[in-house]
């Protein structure tokens, strides 16, 4: 059934098709072209929600994205539900299920409405002043209750089932808003040869052209002009047209973010289509044609269902064929209301009264209304409204005299003039100026890359806006082609508007300024009275303008009240900051495809698949997946790690070290460069030998470490920590390019070129010797810290004799694509020797037994080489290296600095917590250091820990305390070397 408030003809709806949808469980019908608000209004339904704080019944206020009241939850499944959508922007379709919010048990009877009765208790900032006692009350009692009572929609609990996409786009001219000015701008820019992108937040282009009567002031047929312009644009292959796409943010250099709503309006969308798409547009020129938003009037009871913006009623009439009421009172301070009154009058609605607060209503529109015999009263305001779930009447009062008159109505329209939508202009750092005749802030001008056209800069007449848009488009296109003819200029200036910004409003707790956050004139006055001066502070204290609509309908009214109260100019009061997003944006859109497996690249070594088959448990190290341990059947992690450690100490273990950072440093000055970057001496390092390298920051603190092998006089193979690889390469490049551009040396990341198979243990040599061709691995020929190139199984090999376990070990580097096969071959060969794959956990235990540090675990960015027991690495007699000067500072040699030591608990079964603080028995309150690593060592048969302890080296044998959650443990300070202190196994 067509709604009883539907007009007989007209509107942009398709009356031949009916759409059934549900709102609050009830079935309603509408037509293609309707949104939820227009369809419900066609059935006479105005009550769409309950307000945020006082749970007052609220109806539809506007007809677009500015709507503060009619917020609904859409979606029948939790995984596809979206709260807080504006009913004015929700297009209906056959499967649409919507419900109202913030009410219980029902929209028409809401127990929360008790708050409205109690509203004197909840002025602005009430929660700062009340609910102070008892102390626990806020967190456990008051806040949970307030949060439940106040609020908007409920966030969905199920994971979002929808898909979102993102896209970067470049264009010469981006036109935001496709009303008369925007359409004209896009057409002119396209004719100028520019690549044009035109976007509009609505379901079809046209903006105000769709909402106003057939012909313009100049006699132009609005819809015919729109159709012709769109046809030209659609036929141009340099133009991209985007409906349902909101430009929500403008960033540096015309980087503009748009969200395109792709499927929400469809009952059965193609499953592969994203619900929304983020367009990240880089535009050489931007034209903002974002229009203007009508201001409500502020009077007591201005929020009842049936109180609406005048322009919205006109939109519902012309665009949707809906009469929003039968008997109308208009409250206005602007000429534009008379145009609306005439439209509604012609459509057969009764104009019961027009209350104009101004002392006189002049201008052609008012004259026409007078001529038509509409009941016009000047110097008149609304003193009160009547009705509960829908307005029933209004009390009109003569300004100053107190004469009152009650007028029955079912619709009260307000028009306080129009506020240009300068949000995006302001985000682009455009400066605003206050225009007295418009009572609004206007864009100060063109920024060189961004222009404003049409109502957005105060040009409201359609014909002028079209001309203004065309100029802006022509200028924008010309600017993208600087070689062209003389640059055109804008010629149209902003006319007066015939609107009065109403600065006086009654102080009333029912006179709403911000509808969505329930902020009244009384709240604003209270804030000013309590001494809030800056509008930014008033905003935060009262929350005016802080709702999801960001004060689109309220900001200027709130500012006017503050200005009036403080007896200041609007310009002096200023404006609060506009921030993105213009309208709320889903997290899904911002995340795009970055979910699940595409959240981050997952870096896997060439040996990953083997480890996975073997049942490895992985851990994340940066983006890398590293095998942590390889549990055999029914083994716990502790058992697996113990077994893996035993294998390395008694036979051999195989470890995937492919993630280690690798940098190839090549060039005649390579040795000089490394000598400057690392504390160690590299000039004297022989070809075929490797050295432990320690890198400091300029501050003298340890930044990274690794092993550096010299392959040729001018070629070094540098390894870094897994996590430090990008940082080290970036720092090296930084020094090379900015400090020593004279050095002839080049750095190349080879982390991913090589798969690294590390074999460690007394049988390591026996296992790999048969494979390695061209290198004698005997201890004398290939001692600890040797490096050589050869082949293994026919592929290139770089082999290092290095150890991070304290056992004899080799790191076998082969080209990555061969890594898997080489690993297989060695595993196969090693079976008879008990070769056991081990993971990072066993690696950590083994190195801790030897007191080998891990940068970032033992060190925290404040440790010197000496603190870590690595002072031996610093090359003697080196003239300079990064960090050398800092090491000479007195504080860096303070004997009370935290130094690396070992800790042994009195009970060998106790494993300390990493991060546990250490105190002395004498002073149990002051931490003298902390545990950096702690494990149970199968080799030692007891626990062990590494710690950074103040003056630690001088405390050997001292008893200290480690307070932990369960109890305080006694520990003894020991050297940070628990196993094979002489290194006999290492060199064997």
């Amino acid at each position: 059934m067509t709604g009883p408030f539907r007009t007989e003809i007209g509107g942009r709806i398709d009356r031949t098709r009916r759409i059934d949808f549900r709102f609050d469980g009830r079935l309603y019908s509408g037509h293609p072209g309707d949104n939820l608000a227009s369809a419900l209004l066609s059935h006479g339904v105005h009550l769409l929600g309950r307000s945020f704080k006082y749970h007052r019944p609220r109806g539809v206020l506007g007809a677009g994205s500015e709507e503060p009241n009619a917020l609904v939850r859409v979606g029948s499944y939790e995984s596809r539900a979206t709260p807080n959508l504006r009913a004015t922007q929700v297009e209906i379709h056959d499967l649409l299920v919507a419900e109202s919010q913030n009410r219980y048990p029902s929209l028409s009877f809401d127990v929360g409405a008790i708050n409205d009765v109690l509203s004197p208790l909840f002025p602005a900032g009430f929660y700062y002043k009340t609910f102070m006692w008892p102390a626990w009350g806020w967190r456990r009692l008051y806040e949970p209750i307030i949060r439940r009572m106040a609020g908007l929609g409920r966030a969905p609990t199920a994971p979002d089932a929808d898909i979102y996409a993102q896209r970067y786009v470049h264009c010469d001219v981006l036109v935001v808003g496709a009303g008369p000015a925007g359409l004209a701008a896009a057409r002119a820019a396209a004719q100028g040869g520019a690549r044009v992108l035109l976007c509009d937040e609505q379901s079809e282009f046209g903006g105000s052209l769709l909402s106003e009567p057939d012909t313009t002031e100049a006699g132009r047929n609005r819809l015919a002009w729109r159709a012709a312009t769109l046809a030209t644009l659609a036929a141009s292959d340099n133009v991209t047209l985007l409906t349902r796409s909101t430009a929500f943010g403008v960033f540096a250099d015309n980087f503009v973010a748009l969200v395109e709503r792709v499927t929400d309006h469809l009952a059965n969308p193609e499953p592969a289509l994203p619900r929304e798409r983020l367009w990240q547009v880089r535009a050489r020129q931007v034209v903002l044609a974002t229009g203007a938003i009508e201001r409500p009037m502020v009077f007591a009871g201005n929020d009842r269902p049936g109180v609406m913006l005048a322009g919205a009623a006109r939109t519902y009439l012309h665009r949707y064929g809906v009469r929003t009421g039968r008997r109308i009172v208009l409250a206005t301070s602007a000429d534009s209301a008379y145009g609306v009154a005439m439209d509604l009058h012609r459509a057969g609605l009764t104009i019961a009264a027009i209350a104009d607060v101004r002392n006189e209503a002049s201008g052609p529109l008012a004259a026409a209304a007078r001529a038509a015999g509409l009941p016009l009263r000047t110097s008149t305001h609304i003193a009160a409204t009547h009705g509960r779930l829908r307005i029933r009447g209004a009390t009109l009062a003569r300004n100053g005299t107190g004469a009152r008159e009650k007028v029955a109505c079912d619709l009260l329209l307000m028009s306080g003039g129009y506020t240009p939508t300068v949000h995006l202009y302001s985000q682009a750092r455009g400066t605003l100026r206050f225009d007295e005749s418009l009572g609004a802030f206007l864009p100060g001008g063109d920024t060189g890359i961004l222009q404003v056209a049409g109502a957005c800069r105060g040009i409201f007449a359609t014909d002028v806006a079209i001309a203004d848009g065309a100029e802006a488009g022509t200028v924008a296109a010309a600017r993208t082609d600087p070689g062209g003819a003389p640059q055109p200029v804008r010629t149209i200036s902003v006319p007066d508007s015939g609107a009065l910004l109403a600065r006086e409003a009654p102080c009333d707790r029912r006179a709403f300024v911000d509808f969505q956050n329930d902020v009244t004139t009384k709240d604003l006055r209270l804030a000013v009275r309590e001494g809030f001066v800056s509008v930014e502070h008033v905003k935060r204290y009262t929350t005016a303008g802080m709702a999801t609509d960001q004060g689109k309908t309220s900001n200027i009214n709130a500012l006017a009240l503050v200005a009036n109260e403080r007896r200041m100019d609007m310009a002096a009061v200023g404006l609060t900051t506009f921030r993105m997003p213009y309208t709320p944006v889903t997290f899904g859109t911002l995340a795009g495809a970055a979910r699940g497996n595409l959240f981050d690249p997952i870096r896997q070594t060439p040996i990953h698949a083997w480890a996975e088959d073997r049942g490895a448990v992985f851990e994340d190290v940066g983006m890398w997946k590293r095998a942590r341990y390889f549990p055999a059947a029914r083994e716990t992690m502790a058992q697996a790690v113990a077994r893996e450690c035993r294998a390395v100490r008694t036979g051999a273990g195989l470890f995937d070290a492919s993630t280690l950072g690798k940098i190839e440093v090549v060039g005649p000055d390579a040795a000089i460069f490394l000598e400057r970057m690392y504390v160690n001496n590299f000039r004297k390092l022989a070809v075929g030998r490797a050295r432990y390298g320690l890198m400091l920051g300029e501050d003298g603190f340890v930044l990274d470490d690794g092993v550096i092998g010299r392959l040729a006089p001018d070629r070094f193979h540098v390894t870094t920590t897994t996590g430090g690889a990008p940082r080290v390469l970036a720092m090296m490049e930084d020094y090379l390019q900015t400090e020593w551009p004279d050095l002839r040396v080049w750095l190349t990341s080879t982390t991913e070129e090589w798969a690294v198979v590390s074999i460690q243990g007394p049988r390591a040599r026996d296992i790999i010797a048969p494979f390695v061709i061209g290198i004698d691995l005997a201890p004398q020929a290939f001692p600890h810290m040797a490096v050589a190139e050869g082949t293994i199984l026919g592929v290139n090999l770089r082999i290092f004799r290095v150890s991070f376990t304290g056992e004899c070990g080799f790191e076998i580097n082969v080209p990555a694509d061969y890594g898997s096969d080489v690993w297989h071959a060695i595993m196969q060969q090693g079976t008879v020797f008990g070769l056991t794959p081990y993971g990072t956990e066993a690696m950590h235990v083994l190195r801790a037994e030897k007191g080998y540090i891990i940068v970032g675990q033992e060190s925290d960015g404040t440790a010197t080489p000496d603190d870590l027991g690595l002072g031996w690495a610093i090359g003697r007699g080196k003239s300079d290296f990064v960090g050398k000067r800092s090491l000479a500072r007195a504080a860096m040699r303070d004997p009370s600095r935290k130094q690396l030591v070992g800790l042994l608990t009195s009970n060998g079964e106790t494993v300390l917590q990493e991060g546990a603080q250490i105190v002395t028995a004498a002073n149990g309150n002051a931490s003298i250091g902390h545990v950096t690593s702690a494990y149970f060592s199968t080799t030692l048969g007891r626990s062990m820990a590494l710690a950074m302890i103040s003056g630690g080296k001088a405390r050997m044998g001292e008893k200290l305390l480690a307070p932990m959650l369960d109890r305080t443990h006694e520990v003894t300070v020991a050297p940070a070397m628990f196993y094979d202190p002489k290194g006999e196994r290492l060199y064997g």
Binding site: A272, A593, L598, P601, E752
Partner: protein, 187 residues
């Protein structure tokens, strides 16, 4: 004794095969020899002669012959591509030509892997994660550059008006592949 190891591509079999697609086709490119050449323009000129493809001195431009290519990546950096079996020959030729002059030649055949995206909407698929303007007037055939795709760094080279070569570090290749497949499904 174990068998001779076989190259195993970072993309793996699952990702290397893709049927034709109206919007954009994706395929893994065969294994190749790759070198990073670092040096000054005079050395680059000599190296280009030895390599058989002159190194571009214009920024972000690639030169290629039938089976070799040199991509400008920086004022002192070129990426050299050649058939897989040409690695030793390329290395020998450059070492011979440049002698004692300062330069660096680093083998990176296994560090990078390559894939190709081609088709009428290839640029739109790439622009799901690549912020560059890929219009032919801004990114013509023969242009190459380091850029990003989503959260991965790539080298992007337009080899024909609708064909792009993507060189990427091996561990990022599966991500790049999956990202492009996802983007293509959402056009």
């Amino acid at each position: 004794m174990a068998e001779q190891p076989v190259r195993q591509s970072a993309l793996g079999a699952a990702r290397a095969t893709q049927g034709p697609h109206a919007a954009a086709c994706l395929r893994a490119l065969p294994a190749a020899s790759r070198f990073s050449f670092r040096g000054s323009p005079p050395e680059a000129e000599t190296a280009g002669v030895a390599f058989g493809v002159p190194f571009s001195l214009q920024s972000c431009r690639a030169h290629q012959t039938e089976d070799r290519a040199a991509l400008w990546l920086g004022p002192d950096e070129w990426l050299l591509l050649a058939p897989e079996d040409a690695a030793r020959a390329v290395q020998a030729a450059l070492i011979r030509a440049l002698g004692e002059r300062p330069y660096a030649l680093i083998g990176i055949a296994h560090r990078n892997t390559a894939l190709e995206i081609s088709g009428p909407r290839a640029t739109m698929v790439l622009n799901a994660g690549c912020p560059l303007d890929l219009h032919t007037s801004r990114f013509p055939v023969g242009m190459c550059t380091r850029t990003i795709l989503g959260k991965a760094e790539i080298i992007l080279w337009r080899t024909a008006s609708e064909v792009f070569h993507i060189d990427v570090w091996r561990t990022f290749a599966p991500y790049v592949w999956d990202f492009l497949i996802e983007a293509r499904a959402r056009l």
